[in-house]
């Protein structure tokens, strides 16, 4: 590698650090280790071709062009941290990776929905679980009643019950995202 190339690679890594938190070589290698993958499998989950993955990792190319791939990278990062702290088992992680692989940008025409639904498949999943848990405990009518009772003294809790127990999923996702640190 000549000096100009080395410089270009260093610049690409710097850009990657500012866009993705760290150079993609390190980021992808950690995903490979934590999730028990190899490069070919990681490429397939992310929806990248093997040569593109390798160019990104080596810093020959700086930017991930496809926004859907960026979202999948984020979803895998989240998953790998959950695997690392033991909150997700290996079998479950494999299942979640299949979901990540299938997640796409959504439909062209409904661009308003696209941002909401493609934003984070995992967030949606978590929200759905909270919703179904709440609704398995009580019906929507009861939850609204309870929220009404709580509202004067504990408005935030009332809001929580109303949004997850009786609101639309999009509303719940927005609530979840607003309260994520």
């Amino acid at each position: 590698m000549d000096a100009a190339q080395q410089e270009a690679t260093a610049r690409a890594r710097e850009l990657q650090r500012s866009w993705y938190g760290e150079p993609l070589g390190a980021l992808f290698r950690r995903l490979i280790d934590d999730l028990g993958l190899n490069q070919a499998r990681l490429a397939s989950v992310l929806g990248l071709s093997a040569p593109m993955l390798s160019q990104l990792m080596s810093g020959q190319r700086a930017k991930i062009g496809n926004p859907a791939v960026v979202q999948r990278v984020q979803a895998l990062q989240e998953l790998s941290s959950q695997v690392a702290d033991g909150s997700v088992s290996a079998a479950e992680a494999a299942e979640r990776m299949e979901e990540v692989k299938k997640s796409s940008g959504g439909s062209v025409l409904n661009s308003t929905q696209t941002t909401a639904s493609s934003g984070a498949p995992t967030v949606r999943r978590v929200v759905r679980e909270i919703q179904s848990l709440l609704r398995s405990v009580a019906g929507a009518g009861d939850i609204i009643d309870a929220a009404g009772t709580l509202a004067p003294t504990h408005p935030e809790l009332a809001e929580f019950l109303r949004v997850y127990g009786a609101g639309r999923t999009a509303e719940a996702v927005a609530h979840y995202e607003a309260h994520q640190s």
């Binding site: 071709s49 093997a50 062009g65 496809n66 859907a68 796409s104 439909s107 062209v108 025409l109």
Partner: protein
């Protein structure tokens, strides 16, 4: 005549690697998977070159067989990748095509997301020019979608698209073999009239071109059904954010739900596209460079650019008799080894060799000599 090569071999799944199909095509490594069969890189022992080989079950191969017999030789076009020949072997059929190394448009979108309009216009122009040649032969492709649009590995040069996979193509006006209620094609890329079971016609292919265009410009798979619904309820939808107005004029006309209001010919659409490109303006200087990678990867060990390294060409002379101990030929020939370990029953003495090739009445099948162990 490849049909004469019918003898023994196999083809299909990973265990077939290294086998010789129909005595001619050595399967090297799997390079893709279509709707119904696997695609292999294969070494053509007769022509001494690598080809792409699609291996289908005979039951899935009828349409393609007919296409190859009737059309393939006539559609010789730089943007069409039609099967060159075929060979049958037991219950499978292998179709050969030129090797095209740059992956498909689906790979390209995976790697880059939405593509720059100028780049998309080059691809669409090539697609429409290939489609013009296909339609000129009276053939409706019926399965135009990103995964069937392959690219030569041109790197950062001008892209080169090849329209491929004629697996469900038909001649216009020909009676359909399948039940008329059974819609052929790929969900998501149907024209509305195709959904209604109308006779296949060229405008259905043009609708699919419109969907491909939208997919390339937005980086997302278009929702054909929602699109048609919107069109029927409110007229032509507005251009999606990523689609420049002059291009949308052309694409929305390709996407018209009424096939009679759509472009009628690929050549007509191509002309309109060329006019739209004139209105696009200059390519922005900071546009990301699109590189079409070689997606094939290196040849596996044992294969070189000149073919398998482990089977040197037999010297010309009297026909060689294949070595029996390694039959069927799943591995390079090695001298027979005494069977080690617990097997106390050596195989029975092998019979005299027969000449290579099928024997009358056996249709190429040979029995394997059973080992008593």
């Amino acid at each position: 005549m490849p049909g004469r090569d019918r003898c023994r071999g196999s083809g299909g799944d990973a265990s077939d690697m290294g086998e010789v199909f129909a005595g001619r095509y050595e399967l090297v490594d799997p390079i893709g998977r279509g709707g119904v069969g696997a695609v292999w890189r294969a070494w053509d022992q007769r022509r001494r070159r690598y080809v792409a080989a699609k291996v289908l079950q005979q039951s899935d191969a009828h349409t393609l067989l007919r296409f190859v017999r009737e059309q393939a030789l006539r559609i010789d076009h730089p943007h069409v990748l039609a099967p060159m020949s075929w060979a049958a072997d037991d219950d499978k059929v292998l179709f050969t095509m030129e090797m095209v190394g740059g992956g498909s448009l689906a790979h390209l979108i995976g790697d880059y997301g939405p593509l720059p309009p100028h780049f998309v216009c080059v691809l669409l122009d090539q697609l429409l020019s290939g489609l013009t040649a296909v339609h000129a032969e009276g053939v409706v492709h019926r399965d135009i979608k990103p995964a069937n649009l392959l690219l030569e590995a041109t790197g950062t040069g001008r892209p080169h698209l090849r329209l491929s996979d004629f697996g469900i193509a038909m001649r216009k006006g020909e009676p359909r073999l399948t039940d008329t209620n059974f819609v052929m094609g790929t969900p998501g890329y149907f024209a509305p009239e195709q959904m209604l079971g109308e006779e296949p016609d060229f405008p259905a292919d043009l609708f699919a071109v419109g969907l491909v265009a939208l997919y390339l410009l937005t980086g997302r798979k278009p929702d054909a059904e929602a699109l048609v619904e919107r069109f029927q309820e409110q007229g032509m939808p507005n251009a999606p954010e990523e689609v420049p107005a002059p291009l949308w004029e052309v694409i929305s006309s390709l996407l018209h739900p009424d096939p009679y209001a759509r472009f009628r010919t690929a050549a007509g659409a191509r002309k309109a596209l060329a006019a739209a490109v004139e209105l696009l303006g200059e390519r922005p200087a900071d546009e990301e460079e699109i590189e079409v990678f070689d997606q094939l990867g290196p040849l596996p060990p044992g294969f070189g650019p000149e073919g398998p390294e482990r089977h040197p060409m037999p010297p010309p002379g009297p026909p060689q008799v294949p070595p029996r101990p390694n039959y069927p030929p799943t591995r390079p020939y090695t001298a027979p080894q005494p069977v080690p370990g617990p097997c106390r029953h050596p195989r029975p003495a092998r019979p005299r060799r027969r000449p290579y090739g099928p024997r009358a009445g056996t249709r190429g099948r040979r029995r394997r000599w059973p080992s008593p162990c």
